[in-house]
């Protein structure tokens, strides 16, 4: 698959956040702190030297613990933020679903919100007129069409958001913790839809805390930890194992080492089996004891 079209490349992307005294302090405080020299701004690197590239039709899973810099990276990929260092090259239309239900207007109706969202994603009115029936049908919100958004449940909101983003046929689709929404039935439906889109050639980036989902759907994986890139590879299974291993035992460094991880997982399983056997022994002994006592009386 070396001839596949490269859709997105990130080269040594670093993103710096500023944290500290600079916001929400007001004009007076700002002047005071500047004058007294107490004004402090600390740099915080949300991402450091992240490099990866994905081809047409790829599905990239991004994993990492909270605060690893996943969402920040996605913001840079979708163009909301500029990387402080490094370069991002993208080809094609990006549809980003970041923090799903936000960005909708609580006072507008479902229909108005759908159009507004479609407009934000860069589609035309004709296109929305055509796709709107599908959107409302897919999200199963036909009877709520004219309700203000604030009256919907959060599951319904994310359903609408998913329906809009997935039905509008983006070339690159970014999903941030999206598939974890909705009830069981809708989850199955949305996963089926996702597969359909991927088959249709859309390139997808999925951020998920559900390793099952990542194992299931992704063919490439990027592991971030505290802003640093641990590994980028297509050995999804191996990385998932390492990550799972790391989650269970935070004392080991986050490292991509499938052999060691497998060994540790095996060892842990063995230990568990041993413990189970031991506790079974104890239980059996106790039972035997009770039986004995019964026999005595």
């Amino acid at each position: 698959m070396s001839d596949a079209k490269v859709m997105l490349t990130c080269k040594n992307v670093s993103i710096r956040y500023k944290v500290g005294d600079f916001k929400n302090i007001g004009l007076k405080e700002w002047v005071m702190r500047r004058l007294t020299g107490k004004f402090k701004v600390v740099d915080f690197w949300a991402n450091r030297d992240v490099s990866f590239s994905i081809n047409e039709g790829d599905m990239l899973g991004i994993i990492g613990t909270n605060g690893a810099g996943k969402s920040t990276l996605l913001k840079a990929v979708s163009g909301i933020m500029m990387p402080t260092k490094g370069r991002i090259e993208r080809k094609g239309k990006i549809s980003a679903l970041l923090e799903l239900a936000s960005g909708f207007d609580a006072d507008l109706t479902v229909k108005e919100n759908a159009y507004l969202r479609g407009a934000m994603l860069g589609y035309t009115r004709d296109f929305m007129d055509k796709t709107y029936p599908y959107i409302i049908d897919f999200s199963e919100l036909a009877e709520f069409e004219d309700r203000p958004f604030k009256q919907l449940s959060s599951g319904m909101k994310s359903r609408l958001a998913f329906a809009i983003a997935s039905l509008v046929k983006p070339e690159i689709l970014i999903l941030d913790e999206v598939l974890a929404v909705g009830d069981g039935a809708f989850k199955a439906k949305s996963e089926a839809k996702m597969r359909e889109i991927i088959k249709g050639g859309a390139t997808t980036i999925l951020v998920s805390h559900s390793l099952g989902q990542v194992r299931d759907m992704c063919n490439k994986i990027l592991w971030l930890e505290k802003g640093r890139q641990i590994v980028f590879t297509d050995d999804v299974e191996g990385v998932c194992n390492c990550y799972e291993d790391y989650l269970k035992n935070r004392s080991i460094p986050p490292k991509y080492d499938p052999v060691a991880a497998r060994a540790r997982i095996a060892a842990r399983a063995a230990e568990k089996a041993q413990k189970a056997a031991a506790s079974k022994l104890v239980a059996d002994a106790e039972k035997a004891n009770v039986d004995n006592l019964k026999g005595v009386s």
């Binding site: 956040y17 500023k18 600079f22 916001k23 929400n24 007001g26 004009l27 007076k28 700002w30 913001k75 979708s78 163009g79 909301i80 933020m81 500029m82 990006i94 980003a96 970041l98 923090e99 936000s102 960005g103 207007d105 006072d107 507008l108 108005e112 159009y115 507004l116 479609g118 407009a119 934000m120 994603l121 860069g122 589609y123 035309t124 009115r125 929305m128």
Partner: protein, 257 residues
């Protein structure tokens, strides 16, 4: 020019934003759009009573004189106050989706322009009641309306950017608007002031717009070429400064949400 091609590209979003602002504004009030016409009328009434009854102003067409000032000043004050919040109020959108940020402000200013147009109709009705001679020169009123719109968009851009960095700009601007109101000769004529004071009035862009209106409506004559140049110049300057601030901070606003 780049802005216009972008506007073309984002026409659908722009229309949807205008619609949203419109719906949100008129949803909760029973009188709906009526408020937009009623509010300036009520203000006008208060001013008329106060200044005619208590301060004994007796001037020909005083109501029209007052209305000219009130009409333009309340438009300016509404659109800058509205504009100041436009970026912050839409921070939920621009931190999630990559859209040009000035769209929020421009869409909002369409909203205030509609309000102004409604009041303008009432204004013409009052002119008619006040026996003002309508001439073809009234067509020229489009000029100060256009420059005022640009000027308030420019000021709105500057304010909305500052508001992201310092929220207390809101209070400072409110005080400044009060000062501006008294300094714009809305309810008094400036003929009696010294040369120096008159120069101060000439430096006030809002007053220049009001004066333009009065010259056409009350005197029936078209202001000088210099006035036209000043109005356009100030408006363009304000928009340029605002656009520059937006351009330089485009990806920085996000950190201040």
């Amino acid at each position: 020019m780049e802005m216009f091609s972008q506007l073309q590209k984002h026409k659908f979003l722009f229309e949807e934003l205008v619609k949203r602002d419109f719906k949100k504004k008129y949803k909760r009030t029973i009188l709906g759009m009526g408020w937009s016409m009623l509010m300036p009328l009520l203000t006008l009434l208060v001013m008329k009573i106060v200044f005619e009854q208590f301060f004994g102003r007796n001037m020909n067409h005083y109501t029209t004189y007052l209305f000219c000032g009130n009409l333009l000043f309340s438009w300016f004050s509404e659109s800058t106050n509205h504009g100041m919040m436009s970026l912050f109020n839409n921070s939920g959108i621009f931190t999630k989706v990559n859209v040009p940020k000035y769209l929020f402000l421009v869409a909002g200013s369409i909203q205030t322009l509609i309000n102004f147009a409604l009041t303008l109709i009432v204004f013409f009705f009052f002119c008619w009641l006040d026996d003002i001679q309508f001439t073809w020169r009234f067509v020229m009123l489009i000029y100060p309306i256009f420059t005022m719109m640009l000027f308030s968009i420019g000021i709105g851009l500057i304010l909305s950017a500052f508001f992201m960095f310092f929220r207390d700009i809101e209070y400072l601007w409110r005080v400044f608007l009060l000062l501006l109101m008294y300094g714009s000769a809305i309810f008094y004529p400036i003929d009696g002031f010294s040369q120096k004071m008159q120069l101060m009035f000439a430096c006030n862009p809002v007053y220049r717009h009001i004066a333009y209106f009065r010259e056409i409506v009350l005197k029936g004559s078209i202001p000088s070429v210099e006035t036209h140049l000043v109005l356009a110049g100030v408006a363009v300057l304000a928009v340029l400064i605002g656009a520059l601030i937006y351009k330089n901070n485009n990806t920085k606003f996000l950190y201040y949400v």
